[in-house]
Symmetry: D2
Subunit: 265 residues, 4 copies
């Protein structure tokens, strides 16, 4: 493993730590309009979810796909945030948007496509917010940790890594969820790590199983896409669960997280 | 998914099934000599393990590496099998060895390198033994199921799949354990599936975590390399656990398997 | 690079060697019936091709796909071989077929799926025929050379390697042709290497370009699928060229091979 | 292939086109200081190279590696550009640097790590300069063309694609050069494509062969790293050629480019 001063553990201290609650981030892939977002937030809040994901700047492979509500989305996030007293996780694509995003986001997400975007990493390193750093689609663990080091070197050590699947030859699933990285990260670094089974599988019917697997591998939580009507979502519908499915996943995760605590080395 | 008549489920029947015990196959990568093998079997038997792995024909990348004890190994397996009343899982490489292997093996393993070896698949399809079919190192799920179909078409449906990691760009771990395939296999097919965290990670310190993750993803069991002194093993020492480590993993797996039952869709 | 006694060059002797003609192996993916095969051979012979490929044992992912004419194919090969005085390249899948294949084949092909089939490699190492060893679909160069070493250790050094594309994330082409390996093999080993642009691309319209690229990278020749009516081929039609296309590719290859000689280090 | 309005050919017009000279971009990975850069430029100019690469903003995996001379480098580029009357190709990492880079660069390079950086793509789409768009390290051809479409949609169609190797399981070479993409791009799009054998192989001794292969596959040119003393280079020394090696490669490329013209479909 490369020399990294900030993110690697000084010594491999394996004392069992007091475990808090799992970090569960849920919500729609993108904020589509006020009503759908509110409906989703109201439901998630009732479940017990504190952190809501809601993309307003969407990085899309095709320039012809829905790119997010942008400024309009910020207003929706602001309003719902106050009304429901929730915490917001939202992605930053363009460093010129950082100030408006800081205003409303509690966690700033750096997406897969920007894991190697060093100017952006440096900028959020100065931002004084928790950063959710997703793994690049073909980034090695070392490159991912080096990206975290870029952030940490600017003074910001509040970094949560998020494994979201890597690109392999397998095409049946959208990506290959690499849970091996979870115990590696937990053993070698000071960072938290959560898992995104929505992107990691690309298939709704696999999300419950892979959420459980993520928690059992030692992850600190999960990030999952929830939509009131996944088949009508403007983005990522195939990998979003509906309310009923999420309720059951949420309960399973919380229970397993508590149960598994003592088993993790 | 391709049309396969034998291994795919007629209908996606998701009724919760009565769950038996997890299938745990443990033992050395290869049988090295009588004493080490006996010591390992005695320990595993005491733990409660019924199925012992013990390779005597070893497929090795280099022709200069240890190739297994071969005929000598068969004698050791025979003798220990009777003495300890265990079940043997051993790999078949060469179809000319099938008769001598059938005599002592309860489960015949087809290794990763032979997943596309169709003459071998057909031969074990006639063998009247349970077959453990490991996934090829870069086999898609479809190709893997097609390999199982080759076996099933000869009349043998006692097939257990084994996910053992796939080859990706990530080099920190030996392979990338693809747990996504576990719920896919459970949902689409009639087959059992277990997971090999030893080959799937290549690193001893990741085996507990990834065994738990495998069970949480819905796997029917695990296959793990155990050696009294991993650092001195003739093959795969880095990914073998010692007795103490295995004891803890075994207990965790059995407990989690029972706990998780109701959570799996 | 691993220690290999037989296939690696003693010293990196870069003296320009006298270059013979390129090795061009052409023909149908599989022998389908007497008439189509004869028509193809007659055409290729007239072009100047000496080595004809013609599979009679076909390794197919699905057990329900055409598996080759087998014994019937041997009779066809025998008869056409004598009539047209050609050399035959044909694949061996099952070591029990080796004697009947040796009778008619001048070069025995070990396909991608069998590159790790060590009993088969050892058997052809004793066969006294030139072996065409295709690279495994996800085999590293080191593993490939180790497979060649298995053959050479049995006394047979007449080995021609064949790069046929590797499995990557790219799905637009069937495989990714890895021409990097050509100068590696030429610089490090004593072996010949040819390239299969049919499997390496999976697309007819790319075969001319990639054949030229292969020769320019330093390959000793190419192996290409030719069919009188590719759209009606029983296997691999999409990646077979028709007669007219082949004629032009053949001419290009021969010319470029001569032209490029002095440029290769 | 996805619907793209700007970069895809209206019809597949395969009329042989008049071929100009190959586009050869050469120079050091990064501008290290005035003297080394001048020495390199003087040599390349004498060879006949018009386009000089010289990175001053370097995207490096580790924050502790040399990051480029930045502003100081701009002054060096300015001065040398005038003195030698050359054209400059230099990489843009941070959209805030675009104005200073436009002043001195004739071609703005978007590196592999930024192929998915859509705000950056849009910005250079407005820049009125030719853009060299490198393929992302695990980008599919479709994603790459979509990135080009982002640029073209802003009104800038002067886009040159650059294949620079993709990430696969093979570790002997730094990347796997995917030349299959060259004829795909030439057949499907209006764009030029060049190949970077330095990054595509990571090994100096493979660069001549893979440059030839690139040209034979139909590429419009190459981009290659040249350094007076590769072993002492601050970045990418292993994959840089020295002056003598480059001279021979240059001559080979120009000759082959002319020779091959008529063979490309």
């Amino acid at each position: 493993m490369v020399k990294l001063k900030k993110v690697l553990k000084k010594e491999n201290n394996n004392k069992a730590k007091e475990r808090e609650k799992p970090l569960i981030i849920a919500g729609p892939c993108s904020v589509e309009n006020y009503d759908i977002f509110e409906e989703t937030v109201a439901f998630l809040k009732e479940c017990g979810v504190e952190y809501i994901r809601g993309g307003i700047f969407k990085p899309r492979t095709s320039p012809y796909s829905f790119q997010g509500l942008r400024e309009e989305g910020i207003e929706i996030l602001k309003s719902i945030k106050i009304k429901y007293n929730i915490k917001i996780v939202s992605e930053l694509l363009d460093l010129r948007d950082i100030e408006s995003l800081i205003e409303i986001a509690d966690i700033i997400q750096i997406g897969s496509r920007n894991m190697y975007n060093y100017p952006l990493l440096k900028e959020v390193g100065k931002a004084g917010k928790t950063i959710l750093l997703k793994r690049g689609i073909s980034a090695t663990i070392e490159e991912w940790l080096s990206a975290a080091e870029y952030i940490a070197l600017e003074g910001n050590s509040n970094i949560i890594l998020c494994e979201r699947g890597i690109r392999t030859f397998e095409t049946y699933t959208r990506n290959t969820l690499d849970l091996n990285c979870v115990p590696v990260i937990k053993q070698k670094t000071n960072l938290k790590i959560i898992v995104d089974p929505s992107h990691g599988t690309g298939k709704r019917e696999l999300i419950n199983s892979m959420s459980l697997a993520a928690i059992a591998s030692g992850a600190d939580g999960i990030m999952v896409e929830v939509h009131p009507n996944p088949d009508k979502a403007l983005s990522d519908g195939e990998q979003s669960v509906n309310f009923e499915e999420f309720k059951s996943i949420y309960k399973n995760i919380v229970n397993l997280y508590n149960y598994i605590g003592g088993m993790i080395i």
